[in-house]
Assembly symmetry: C2
């Protein structure tokens, strides 16, 4: 309210541009709207719409669409039609994980047009890991035939608590990650903005965009792992917390002075190696085959996860909890989680497995890049 | 964005009214602004400001202020000055607690002009408790000399999970509270809107308005008690949760199959009576006097509270945690809480005692009533 000052002509122009661009993007292809359609859809005057469309064409964001065939035959001179140029730029979403780099490419409409992935040893140093990122990016750009200069924004997601400036405040899951100025390091490879986000935060954005949570604005995504993390949407918006550490429930069990997850999942008494997912998968597999010690270990692990998730649910009261992360073994978590939540919550949240699976984190990073571009295109609030 | 449709004249009028009203309210008394001042402050044209001010005067919200003395002498005919009429209506904030009804009266500027309170037996039925509310309200109105018809909004806060329509979905702290259509029942006593809220939610709003949290928009208020509850502000807005149950951490200890708080605080092995605050205060007092059993019980209780709060902090990552509720014994909670949070949080939140103390819940209810009135006065988003 403090910013309302009555007729600001440049603000009005930006509002009008945004309104027309929205109407153009909302028009379902292949139906490209005419100026008359846009006038009706926006409530703006015809001269205003004409002026805005000219400006958007000059900016390369809008192009005249070919007339529809039937129409061309019926009339001597069909009305001009326009469409938003989703090909006016490209976006990239990158996941930097303990074992894998994954990258997705998309157009300005958010449609994925290509992908690349690369295995990384879990012991790789930060420099080596960033080197792998550069290789995956170069590979994806080349195979897509997209010049690097056409990228409008790049989203990056990794484990750890990420500061607003893209620095990793704490990231114990990847060697050399704590304190790494990740945004600044990656920025050197791109001329467009690079946005860095925590992996669980990216995943919840992805499931809301294209996954199991499209119907809900109040979602907790639990990235199950030896140190579980969570990302939350509240009213459709990412909740990062004051210091970017919201959902870092991995420390919760420490409060009770309980064993670490690596001890919980052990079948020998010796704790597992923190990042050894293969070893974890083996415990889950043994449990399925009926191995008693493995089944006990998995049971302990599930109880731990259920407790952590329940704490999140009591604090946040979401509509939906999405469980993702490890590809294997998670289906065994759903039923105990539902039962436990039903016991302690008045209106227990729905519980679902991630729909995007391994693609969730990179997809979320892509969505964050798209959000950034859309904010620039459609921002009418205040220029930054 | 979807609502932007270009020139809507009635919307424009409402925006202009809101802008002028804001400028009038922002002017620090006794300096009442002139039309020239308002034109400068709002950026609107003089005729627009004149028209808006006339309309606001007709609505009884604005009145001409007497000319300043010095000015009157200097000039033959001083410029007219205007002020917002904070006395144009009244607000009430009511706390319905286990032992006490408390009510506050305020003007449209949020200045408290009167208060009333009434002891209630903890065993009172819902009807008896609501009867006490009516007595306290009538008493406060009469002593304030304010006719009931001048109330613009009433805020009510009580323990329990409150639905959007003012029904208590669950309220174990007060007899007969679960399922009570509290908003509907109280609405019969008032012609203005009655807004019902959970007590911890009201308390966090109050501390943000006039208490220890005025400098922070990311706050968790912990209403300590045998069954602790919490209210959270995220980005300055109340976070109620999808089902209104956010922060109901009282169930958290059940997950670990631990003892109830009444057992935790017992010094005899027999659990305390759930709502007997006198008994609780006695345990705290004995502990201060050096009684070993009492000290152990208090220690157990504090560890429990610290654990519950830590779970909230890990989930939400607030800037500030405010501890309130019981008048006595809470100062012993601060240091263990700070120490525990420092161990597990990277950037531990600040921890502070409630500044408003016993007045927090009623003050928050009052603020919610004021919010409602301000939304009506200043709303430019969409008419409801």
């Amino acid at each position: 309210m403090g910013r309302l000052t009555g007729g600001d002509p440049s603000l009005l122009r930006r509002i009008n541009s945004a309104v027309v661009l929205h109407a153009l993007r909302a028009a379902a292809p292949p139906a490209a709207p005419t100026l008359t359609d846009l006038t009706k859809a926006t409530g703006l005057s015809r001269p205003t719409v004409e002026g805005v469309v000219e400006g958007l064409m000059e900016a390369g964001l809008v192009v005249e669409a070919p007339a529809e065939e039937g129409e061309a035959r019926r009339q001597g001179r069909p009305a001009r039609r326009f469409r938003f140029r989703v090909e006016a730029g490209h976006l990239m979403g990158i996941e930097i994980g303990p074992h894998r780099i994954a990258a997705l490419m998309a157009d300005l409409g958010g449609r994925v047009t290509g992908s690349a992935s690369l295995e990384v040893p879990e012991t790789a140093s930060a420099d080596e890991r960033l080197g792998c990122v550069r290789v995956a990016v170069a590979d994806l750009l080349e195979r897509s035939g997209v010049p690097r200069s056409r990228l409008r924004a790049v989203g990056v997601a990794s484990p750890g608590i990420v500061e607003a400036d893209g620095t990793v405040r704490l990231g114990t899951a990847l060697p050399g990650w704590t304190g790494l100025p990740l945004g600044e390091r990656l920025q050197r490879s791109f001329r467009c903005p690079v946005l860095v986000e925590n992996d669980a935060n990216a995943a919840v954005v992805a499931e809301h965009w294209k996954g199991v949570a499209t119907g809900s604005d109040d979602v907790v995504f639990v990235l199950a792992g030896l140190s579980p993390g969570a990302g939350s949407l509240i009213g459709g918006r990412l909740h990062r917390g004051y210091g970017g550490a919201a959902g870092e429930i991995g420390a919760l069990h420490l409060l009770g002075r309980e064993a670490t997850p690596e001890e919980v999942l052990s079948t020998t008494g010796e704790p597992l190696h923190p990042l050894d997912e293969a070893q974890v998968a083996q415990v889950f597999a043994l449990a399925r085959e009926g191995d008693e010690r493995a089944a006990e270990a998995v049971g302990r692990f599930i109880r731990r996860l259920v407790h952590d998730v329940a704490a999140l649910v009591l604090a946040l009261d979401p509509e939906l909890v999405v469980v993702g992360g490890w590809a294997a073994g998670l289906d065994g978590v759903l039923e105990p989680l539902r039962a436990e939540l039903a016991r302690y919550c008045l209106r227990p949240p729905k519980v679902a497995l991630s729909l995007l699976g391994e693609a969730a984190v990179a997809t979320g990073a892509l969505r964050l890049a798209l959000d950034h571009v859309e904010e620039q295109l459609f921002a009418v609030d205040s220029p930054h």
